[in-house]
Symmetry: C2
Subunit: 361 residues, 2 copies
């Protein structure tokens, strides 16, 4: 049996473990403690089910539960109310009850939708995350954010809802398209940049290993990212303050995603460029030195992420950022970098934002 690392997310009676390692998807004993009822519903998509559905079902078989699989279409474009309703219809058709455990098998879209379905089905049933992308292993598996998109805004409808457990199988990342691997590395870079300069140094030195899908490097990246995010979330579960630093790069990034249409750029790609833009704004507002900005941009480029923003037009960017969840009464909030490991949340003068937009395209 291969090595397994466990990170505990400390949230009182909503605490849960994140298990990290190669081959975990097939380990029955990781699921057993979290399935109290007589049935399980796996929610996955048309890409992941053929790859890992059987391995998961084989792991569940010894538990003797009724197992249903709900296979959704793949992609961010389907992260909407209609697809969510497909999950509810399947659960009701299969007579899922209040003790049915949902298992999210897939990337962030599957995790977000399954989590929200679990939060809402009969006002809340247990769920387990089995994230199959690097992005979802480091990002959406920690923090309990669940939700769907609305045509007028990303992740606008959802709930804070914690899983019973996260099972992050590093082995499955070998089948991940390179572009999606890079998108996951973007969130790893973000974590180092905002909260842990030593980890940022490690990422800078290990970008080639991460790019090559080295299992040891990936396991460390996932572990440290989850630890940092878990400590931030534990201090601020419902995003009152500190937790907002996790949105570094997201204000610009969400505007890119929404402006191009969801799914055109991957979330991590948009966050990559969003961090370059946020760092640019940080320098303009006197928070960050030019050397750190250049260093961050270089690490993002080394991870094969885009560092230039799409030309949506400045007014369109500003319009899109004003409807961001972090905006209050129309004022856009930015997470600025002061140095690696330190951030500041603030509004920004319109001219500075426009200068950053002009410089970033």
């Amino acid at each position: 049996m291969s090595a397994m690392i466990t990170v505990n997310v400390e949230l009182g009676d909503r605490a849960y473990p994140i298990h990290i390692g190669a081959g975990l998807i097939g380990r029955t004993e990781l699921y057993a403690p979290h399935i109290a009822g007589s049935s399980v519903a796996i929610v996955t998509n048309t890409t992941v089910d053929p790859l890992y559905g059987d391995a998961l079902r084989a792991a569940l078989a010894p538990l003797g539960k009724k197992v249903t699989t709900v296979v959704l279409p793949d992609g961010e474009a389907h992260k909407n109310l209609d697809t969510l309703n497909q999950i509810f219809t399947a659960l009701l058709t299969e007579r899922a009850d209040r003790k049915t455990t949902l298992i999210a098998l897939g990337g962030g879209v599957i995790g977000d939708m399954t989590g929200f379905a679990a939060a809402s089905y009969m006002r809340g049933v247990p769920f387990i995350q089995v994230p199959t992308t690097l992005l979802s292993q480091v990002d959406s598996s920690v923090g309990g954010k669940t939700g769907i998109n609305h045509p007028l805004g990303k992740n606008m409808i959802g709930a804070f809802y914690q899983p019973q457990a996260v099972i992050a199988d590093i082995g499955v990342l070998r089948t991940l398209p390179l572009r999606e691997l890079a998108a996951g590395i973007a969130e790893v870079i973000k974590t180092g940049a905002i909260a842990d300069s030593e980890f940022f140094d490690w990422i800078e030195a290990n970008t080639p290993a991460l790019n090559d899908c080295d299992a040891t490097a990936l396991a460390h990246a996932v572990k440290r990212s989850c630890e940092v995010k878990a400590s931030v979330v534990a201090a601020d579960e419902r995003e009152g303050g500190l937790r907002a630093i996790l949105n570094f790069g997201h204000t610009f990034g969400h505007a890119i995603e929404a402006g191009l249409g969801y799914g055109e750029w991957l979330h991590g790609e948009a966050v990559g460029t969003g961090m370059v833009m946020a760092a640019d704004l940080s320098v303009r507002l006197g928070r960050l030195d030019e050397k750190s900005r250049a260093r961050l941009t270089r690490v993002i480029a080394d991870a094969r992420l885009p560092v230039k923003a799409p030309a949506l037009g400045e007014d369109r960017y500003i319009d899109l950022m004003k409807v961001d969840k972090k905006a209050e009464a129309g004022e856009i909030k930015f997470i600025l970098l002061k140095r690696f490991g330190e951030t500041e949340i603030t509004g920004a003068p319109d001219e500075a934002v426009r200068a950053t937009l002009a410089a970033s395209i």
Copy 2:
């Protein structure tokens, strides 16, 4: 200024007050403490907005907030995902942010949908309930249950989410259709029956006054119902155990509603007949004496509620009850009455259930 009674629902950091009295809808100071942001969105329907929308907007005017009104179609048939999405679209169009307070102005359908919209919009915004039916004043305003229906089941999608405050204006009940008044009295009767035999005696003696919409009698009925329900909910916020007693009459009642199609019978009417059926089952299973059964049935009939169930067919009833949220692994759970003020939650032999169904039509 007329008399106001306040019942506090004790839920730690989610505690909130229920203000009860005539003319409360117009009292600015009741809303002020619960509106922290710069905007408010009233969610109401085509029936209630012409009656009380202006009074509410006039009460909010001195606060200087941006006020939006979202007017939905009236009726249980619209308590679905499409109508919920109308609320989200309106909020996003009006740039509602995380501090926007939603105000539910209407009956249970508006309260349930607005509450779920508040729970889900940007993963949670504050909301105030202004219930305008007796049923919603005594029932859906206490307990934090929010949600919508699915074609395959009632209230199958939702959240436990507490309001900031409930403002129960007894004066608005004068415009309530008699059938809806009776449906509200059903829940008052339920509260007395399951949890407070003295209150049940009071209801028995005061049914004529409640039927006549007597303000003093109604205020007492709302107050005592809210107190009882609040104490049950405080002990069991997420429906782990005790709280299930509030579902007395609901197992049969939900089957009636679902079987006839939502909206054919009012919820309170279905619960009225459902209590008659649950009492019949209680007698059959040796829990309740025949005299108490007859007494409960008479009080329900005195409140001008139906006491005979619609003929859906026994198999159909059983099928519908199996998909009830209270069912576990297909076993139907019944709340039985042992005496006024005391209940028991249990499964029941199929023959007894069928006998009750046969006797109730």
